[in-house]
């Protein structure tokens, strides 16, 4: 069995340009590893698959013994009734408003600041940059109580503003990466634009923005995911069901419907809640993986 796929390999391989050490890989080892990785992949995927199959089971099938892997008649209705049974639609809307506003405006302010920190003359530039970086050392829970008091004095509790406004001022991680990306851009390019009489803002929008687009795109997606999946800040501020973001909605649903044992509904809603990001990930997989790998090697 195992010999069949491996025997055909070397011929295909020799035509390709491969690293020297790759050719010395043992086929037996690779076959064993393939099996191990495949079993592991099943373990990794199982909870999410189970989440999906539970969503389309009947309530009785959820508690059936012995357990049922796939329902007899898939209850697709779960994905219909959840919209009227819980404020999922408004949850989507709120999460979308928060994540989009934050990332679009925040990316712009971050890019602008990164440009100034990388390419413009400014006294104490490095001190400012290091000061901003030091903010990364401070855990959110340490500042969450004072922030909450600030925003409650502004009567912003139970609105989306406390989740949006602080992040509009830019994201230091994004500033860090764009600044680093800009190091590769020669200063002479900017000097030339200055001599041509371009304003600094014009230099940024016309010259810099197109250059840093890949760096922004990568960080934008990661940031969007982070904001979309945030849970702690939203539960501090959002009380009314129609104001809550999706993560809070499903967490409340979990408490509320567990007593009624409506697990198909809970799992269906949770599945739908992670679907948008899952789709984004699968579509932009290569870019996301490349930018995550970069984060680790550069930081």
């Amino acid at each position: 069995m195992t010999a069949i796929p491996t025997l055909t390999r070397p011929a295909a391989r020799s035509t390709r340009q491969v690293h020297h050490h790759v050719r010395t890989e043992s086929r037996t080892v690779n076959t064993v590893l393939f099996v191990v990785l495949a079993i592991f992949a099943v373990v990794m995927a199982a909870p999410l698959l189970w989440m999906f199959t539970t969503a389309i089971k009947t309530k009785a099938e959820v508690f059936a013994l012995p357990p049922i892997l796939w329902p007899e008649v898939p209850q697709w209705d779960t994905f219909v009734r959840m919209w009227s049974d819980a404020p999922i639609l408004s949850g989507f809307k709120n999460s979308f408003i928060v994540a989009t506003t934050v990332t679009v405006i925040g990316s712009f302010t971050s890019a602008l600041a990164a440009f100034a920190l990388a390419k413009l003359r400014l006294p104490f530039k490095n001190a400012i940059f290091l000061g901003l970086l030091s903010g990364l050392m401070i855990p959110y829970p340490t500042v969450m109580i004072p922030q909450f008091v600030m925003f409650s004095r502004l009567h912003w509790v139970d609105t989306l503003l406390p989740l949006i406004v602080p992040l509009l001022f830019g994201n230091i991680i994004m500033i860090f990466f764009i600044r680093q990306y800009l190091e590769t851009v020669p200063d002479s390019l900017i000097e030339a634009a200055k001599i041509d009489g371009a304003s600094y803002f014009r230099i940024f929008t016309v010259l810099i923005m197109p250059l840093i687009r890949p760096a922004i795109a990568a960080q934008f997606i990661l940031w969007f995911m982070g904001v979309w999946n945030d849970y702690l800040a939203p539960i501090l501020y959002l009380n009314s069901p129609e104001k809550q973001t999706l993560q809070v909605v499903i967490a409340n649903l979990n408490v509320q419907y567990a007593t009624q044992r409506d697990y198909p509904l809970i799992m269906g809603a949770s599945f739908v809640a992670l679907l948008p990001i899952l789709i984004v990930f699968i579509v932009f997989q290569r870019q996301i993986i490349a930018s995550v790998a970069l984060t680790g090697t550069k930081a």
């Binding site: 990785l37 059936a64 340490t142 969450m144 109580i145 600030m150 967490a251 090697t297």
Partner: protein, 322 residues
């Protein structure tokens, strides 16, 4: 490098000659231009600086003061000195939540070892390795709230996935989240599962950046697979390990979402409550804002001290290796 002067090298001294005579006028012009540039640069960095001052620095200073008061968040703050901090050490709930929070960090080395092994395996030409990488990475991008919900259900003693699988092997699993002995390991397993793909990806990138010539040279010297792993791979991925340990500890110290969703009451006998969960509860359920802030400051200090120690250790170790 050749010694013959390149043409640019000759041209260079000629250039400054043309505009070196520094008339006072051009100097003033340049100063004016620099001032304009300073002003624009300042405007560009202003948003993050203002954001830092308003949403990080001011809250920190405010928290430092609030932690010395008895305060319910609405009424006046009554200064009590270090009383909150003294109470911390006598508060068995705080100590327990601190212990739990550190206990969860057992998952960090487990996750790192597993993800390094996965990365080494995926670095080989194994069929379907891109698909494997994607599958392992999906939990990373998935919402933690949704993940915690499904795992809470999976750990259910009677009809959860975990015990169903164990039953195939004839093992009768416990009611994981209702049992003081199993609740923390259960949460650790979930956290390892969630974070594995991320560490694996960083390790994979680091391994792929190792020059193959190093391995070839080692093979010529007769090094075995394990020796190559120990003397080449491990040192080369050290920066990634360091990065992952630091970020995992900072994140681990703030563990909250999974605790609050999977064990809404802090677990049996408070055995799953984390520090942030306890802070949140004290501040927003019991309105003990002063006391909660003292805990928050203590948490910030602990994270800070651990990070500084790690940077110190890292500097010393990397010195001894080179």
């Amino acid at each position: 490098m050749s010694r013959s002067p390149a043409p640019e090298a000759i041209a260079v001294p000629a250039e400054p000659r043309a505009d070196t005579p520094p008339t006072t006028r051009s100097k003033r012009d340049r100063n004016r231009l620099h001032r304009v540039e300073h002003r624009w640069a300042l405007a560009f960095v202003a948003p993050p600086v203002i954001g830092f001052l308003a949403f990080t620095l001011y809250p920190i200073l405010f928290a430092a003061y609030a932690s010395l008061t008895s305060w319910n968040g609405l009424g006046p703050m009554r200064f009590v000195g270090l009383k909150n901090y003294v109470s911390l050490f006598q508060d068995e709930y705080f100590l327990k939540s601190l212990w739990n929070t550190f206990f969860y960090m057992i998952g960090i080395p487990i996750g790192l070892v597993l993800s390094l092994l996965l990365a080494i395996a995926l670095n080989r030409k194994i069929p379907g390795r891109t698909a494997f990488r994607t599958i392992y990475y999906i939990p990373v991008v998935s919402s933690l709230a949704a993940i915690a919900i499904v795992w809470q259900f999976a750990y259910n003693g009677d009809f959860g996935l975990v015990n169903q699988v164990l039953a195939w092997f004839g093992i009768e699993g416990p009611d994981w989240l209702q049992n003081t002995a199993t609740v923390k390991p259960a949460i650790i397993i979930m956290a390892v599962w969630k974070g594995l793909g991320y560490s694996m990806l960083l390790y994979l990138a680091a391994i792929q950046s190792v020059p193959t010539s190093l391995y070839e040279a080692a093979s010529l010297d007769g090094a075995g697979a394990f020796q190559k792993f120990r003397s080449i791979t491990l040192p080369m991925v050290r920066p990634v390990t360091f990065f992952l340990v630091v970020t995992n500890i900072i994140a681990g110290a703030q563990i909250f979402t999974e605790i609050n969703i999977m064990t809404p009451t802090g677990g049996p006998e408070f055995s799953s409550a984390s520090v942030v969960w306890y802070i949140w509860r004290k501040a927003f359920k019991y309105q003990q804002m002063g006391y909660a802030t003292a805990m928050a400051i203590a948490l910030g200090l602990i994270v800070f001290v651990i990070t500084v120690i790690q940077f110190r250790l890292n500097r010393r170790n990397s010195f001894s290796i080179e």
